[in-house]
């Protein structure tokens, strides 16, 4: 739907915004008719015609579907100019009707209007092109606002999810168990848990961190879980050289690892292995997290946040260049993140 109907403020501001344009067009009409038209006649023609133009210009929204960056210039030209000409023709036809109707009031109006036609037609074309431009601006504004809201929301949720209460209380319970069985391990787990909480607080508030930092966050999370799950949880990591330096939004990989445990390792009574890989390929960073799962266990009720949050944040930050892909094989679950490579200095490679 056209944004003007979605936003009341837009709607109210739209017609008044046309008043100055109407005034300018009125001036143009008066002078291009070689001052043959009186001001009263100009006003009588231009007032309804400006309203018509205002309505016709809204149609520009429907041709603003073409991406300015990816569509070739000649194509844009071939789309915009003819549509502006069509729009101008429509308005001119209405103009004629108006002039014809007004002819009953003002004698001899039509012949005096005729010389202004070419100038007006060109003006309408220009106004329509301007309207296309404005529509693109509105679109860009809306997209950026939405992206910002999405990324804020997702980030907030991600941070909340970090201190997943279930994880926290289970870990504290494990510590409580260990204090009498194995005090040294209890202390080790206290430290691992603090490391993880500290890291997620510290990294979570930054706009971007290095992939290496993100991995160490995931590792500190895994360290806690390993105390809880013991031998059930095994982790392997395969990284191609230098990929730790890529800049990534914080808390992108950790939710995948958490998912891998919650819906993978935890469903298997004998546990399993989580594989985390990072590669620098074709100017992109590709991260995969793989885990086995129990295909017999029907899906538990998921909060669904983990993956949706990652996907939203990728989209908000990178648009179509960043994506999250899920592959499910008979008993293997693989989540892949792909995002544009950017090194430590913020240079895009």
């Amino acid at each position: 739907m056209h944004p003007i109907f979605r936003n009341k403020q837009f709607f109210r501001a739209y017609l008044p915004a046309w008043v100055p344009i109407g005034l300018i067009l009125a001036g143009v009409l008066r002078y291009s008719s070689h001052l043959e038209l009186r001001w009263i006649e100009v006003a009588a023609i231009m007032a309804p015609l400006t309203v018509v133009l205002a309505i016709v210009c809204l149609s520009a929204w429907y041709i603003c579907r073409f991406d300015l960056r990816t569509t070739a210039d000649w194509k844009l030209f071939a789309i915009f100019v003819p549509s502006a000409m069509c729009a101008s023709t429509v308005v001119m036809v209405c103009g004629h009707l108006i002039v014809w109707t007004l002819g009953h009031v003002f004698p001899n109006l039509e012949p005096r209007f005729r010389p202004a036609i070419p100038v007006l037609a060109v003006m309408f074309c220009l106004v329509y092109l301007l309207s296309i431009l404005l529509h693109y601006l509105v679109q860009a504004l809306e997209t950026s606002q939405r992206a910002e809201i999405l990324s804020r929301e997702a980030e907030l949720k991600a941070l909340k999810a970090q201190v997943n209460p279930h994880f926290l209380f289970n870990s504290l319970n494990s510590i409580s168990a260990l204090t009498s069985i194995d005090p040294a391990r209890a202390r080790q787990m206290c430290i691992a848990l603090s490391d993880f909480l500290r890291n997620s607080l510290r990294l979570g508030e930054r706009a971007s961190i290095s992939f290496g930092e993100e991995l160490s966050l995931a590792r500190s999370y895994l360290k806690v879980e390993r105390v809880r799950f013991g031998q059930k949880l095994r982790v392997v990591q395969r990284l191609s050289e230098g990929c730790e330096n890529c800049r990534v939004p914080p808390l992108l990989v950790q939710p995948l690892v958490e998912n891998a445990i919650k819906h993978g390792i935890a469903t298997l009574s004998e546990g399993g292995e989580i594989a985390v890989t990072g590669e620098h390929v074709d100017g992109r960073l590709r991260v995969t997290v793989e885990n086995p799962f129990d295909p017999e266990a029907p899906p538990a009720q998921r909060t669904g946040f983990g993956l949706a949050g990652v996907r939203n944040r990728l989209e908000a930050r990178y648009g179509p260049a960043g994506r999250l892909q899920i592959e499910v094989e008979p008993s293997l679950y693989r989540a892949t993140i792909v995002l544009p490579w950017a090194d430590g200095e913020g240079n895009q490679a």
Binding site: L168, N173, S176, T267, S269, E296, A300
Partner: protein
């Protein structure tokens, strides 16, 4: 005489805490420990304990499903880390529970209540289906139905249930040409399942919307729903209204 007890928790360390606390109690005897729901059902049916410490979130079967499958003639203390809906439900139905991590005082208090119950031979008369319903977050519905058939356990994904038919205290669950009996009222089952996918078309019939291929008139007030496999199910007048609303006929 000691109270025969089973510990159920998927985390070994969580069981260790319970074991440690129980070691100080003369009258509690641990007869088994289980790391997942299936083992728990098996152990509880086999050993018939008087008390079960039951973790709520577990792989394979959760705590509620375990209870549903073994019947409720056993004293239960639920153990959970964090679950706002579950704890609210436990409070409402006066079920004993422990929040991880818990200290010895809490543990003893819970145990004292259990002792009183067992001594007074109070039946636990816990309605597991209702408890589970209360412990589910609003808008969430069960994704699977668990049924015990002798020693065999069946886990039916909700999407595979064709229809259910009330038979006295039981429901007959029809799934992929098989029929399984479960001790549950059809109303309880109806409440647990997603109302957008399962419709009570008749006092005794609950049907999976996706299975209905057509609805044909039968008598003046009733109709028949014909399922994809040809099965015909009676549809009452009010059932048809519900169906119409969902299918937007």
């Amino acid at each position: 005489m000691s109270i025969r007890t089973i510990l159920v928790d998927d985390e070994q360390l969580a069981r260790a805490v319970l074991r440690e606390y129980i070691s100080g109690e003369q009258d509690i005897e641990i007869i088994a420990e289980c790391g997942n729901g299936f083992d728990a059902v098996k152990a509880i049916s086999e050993h018939r304990p008087e008390l079960v410490f039951l973790d709520v979130q577990m792989p394979k079967l959760d705590g509620f499903e375990v209870l549903e499958l073994v019947g409720s003639d056993v004293a239960v203390v639920f153990v959970t880390a964090y679950d706002q809906y579950a704890t609210r439900a436990f409070d409402a139905s006066a079920v004993d529970y422990l929040l991880k991590p818990f200290d010895l005082t809490r543990f003893k208090a819970a145990l004292d209540k259990v002792r009183q119950r067992i001594a007074a031979r109070m039946p636990s008369n816990l309605n597991v289906a209702e408890l589970r319903q209360a412990a589910t977050a609003p808008g969430q519905y069960t994704q699977r139905i668990v049924v015990r058939d002798g020693v065999q356990l069946h886990v039916i994904p909700a999407a595979q249930l064709d229809f259910a038919e009330a038979q006295d205290d039981y429901v007959a669950l029809h799934t992929r040409g098989k029929t399984l009996l479960k001790q549950q009222t059809i109303t309880n089952l109806e409440r647990a399942l997603d109302p957008a996918r399962f419709v009570r078309v008749h006092r005794s019939f609950l049907v999976n919307l996706e299975r209905i291929s057509k609805v044909e008139p039968y008598t003046k007030d009733t109709r028949l729903a014909v399922l994809a496999d040809g099965t015909k199910i009676p549809v009452s007048r009010s059932g048809f209204l519900r169906l119409k609303e969902l299918m937007q006929l």
